[in-house]
Structure formats: structure tokens, C-alpha cells
Subunit: 109 residues, 2 copies
DNA sequence: GCGACTGTACGCAAACTATCGTACAGTTGA
DNA sequence: TCAACTGTACGATAGTTTGCGTACAGTCGC
């Protein structure tokens, strides 16, 4: 169990963030985090195996999309909203809004 | 030489667009298009082989990021700004602004 | 210490992506 | 019709990503 490394704000890369977001599992995680939830690794998509989930958490963490802090035996994740907004103003909001609008149109059929 | 197919506005998918944008070559193309240029396939990055370029143009076209129209023997590409703005408000602007800010900070050192 | 719990590390296989060379198709102007 | 030009189709390959099983490490409560 290594220490949880994060890029700092200045190290965030647009391409890395876009890459992290261009995946349905990770988009779903971001959406949940954006709802204000602080998620542990096991909290999202209980049907996907832990080892697969770990991979996605890592991609999100290493790209700088979220922050992970160890809290006892769980790892609590939160969106790095401030950092993302500072480096890429409007990007996160646009992605979240787009997800919301996509799920709306899905529900309409 | 097949006909150039495009998804229509309602078919645009966030994940597909993010995926198309999560690549340095394609980001560069989008940046150039956003500057108002209308580009043909050979106009960007002359050092990359035509067959590689074709691949990237296709990804951008099929994800709905740009529109390609045949004009004599060249294919002219333009950003689908209106469609992107309609489906994913703020997304394209945020990405373009982020690119601009990244190239600014690169120039500073 | 021990067992339950949470998540990682490692390694593997399948699927996907990027890059490229070669051959070729459509358009244009001579 | 012919050659030049522009871009595609196809196929190969290397590298990457995804998904997963298994083994294990750190923390907690008892």
C-alpha cells in the first residue's frame, strides 16, 4: 500500500483530465462525487470488482480529478473542484451539466 | 472513398467527444479550427503521415466535433460549434480556454 | 494477537488505439 | 486521357487500457 500521490494544481494537464473523464465508469464516479458525496472505493458500482475499481480511482487521482485521503481503513475521495475550476474554468461544470442533460434525455426515451 | 458520415446533433455523446479531445494531435486540430481556419486534411502537422492524420480526422468527425465537406479534391473541415454548444454548453469554450492557458504557461517556462 | 474489513499490488488476457506503409480512388487541369 | 494532387482503405504492429483473479498489506474492534 503505497502513499497516495496527487499532482498539484500547477501540474494538472488538460489532456490527462479529458482522458480520465472519457470513460463511463469514471464519469459516473465524478457525477456521484459532484452530488456532494464523499465516496470510498467500494461505494460506486458494487458490481465491478475491487481490483477494477482501484484502476479507475487511480486514473482519476493521478490525473488530478479527485483527492484521496486515507481515513482509518477506508479511503475517502472528493472532487478537486477548486483546483479544476482554477486551472480549467468551466470545464467541470460543463461536463457535469452535459452528464445531467444526457441522463435526462435517456429517461425521456 | 466512402461518403463522409456525421452524427447528427442529437446523437452526440459526451463520452465520445471527451474521448476525441483526449489526444494531443486532435486537440491541436481543434485549436486550429477554433481560430477560424477551415482546414483540409494535410494542413495540420505536416510531419505526420497522411494515413495517421486520416485516423484523427475520422475520430473527430465521427464523434461530432467537426464537420467535413468535400470540395473538389480536398476535404474542408470546420468545428461544429453550434451543435457542441447546444448539446454540451460551455464544454468547447472551456476546453479551448484551457488549451490557451496551458500554452501561455508553457511559454512562460 | 486475531479476524473482519478495505483497498492495493501484481500479473495476465482481451480489447482498443495510435502510427504507419502501401495501394488505390476521386477530382482537377492540361 | 493522363498525370498530379488529395485523401481513403486496408493491414500490420507496438503500445495502452480495461477488466479481472489472486495474494497481500494496513486498520480496526475484540
Amino acid at each position: 500500500m503505497r502513499t497516495l500521490t496527487h499532482p498539484d494544481r500547477a501540474q494538472l494537464r488538460l489532456e490527462g483530465v479529458l482522458d480520465a473523464l472519457a470513460n463511463p465508469v469514471r464519469l459516473r464516479i465524478v457525477q456521484r462525487l459532484a452530488e456532494g458525496e464523499e465516496l470510498t472505493c467500494g461505494t460506486v458500482l458494487p458490481d465491478i470488482p475491487a481490483s477494477s475499481a482501484t484502476h479507475h480511482w487511480r486514473v482519476l487521482r493521478e490525473s488530478g480529478v479527485l483527492f484521496a485521503r486515507r481515513q482509518g481503513r477506508v479511503i475517502v475521495h472528493s472532487l478537486r473542484r477548486d483546483d479544476l475550476d482554477a486551472r480549467f474554468p468551466g470545464l467541470l461544470d460543463a461536463v457535469l451539466a452535459a452528464m445531467a442533460s444526457e441522463s435526462r434525455s435517456r429517461n425521456l426515451g
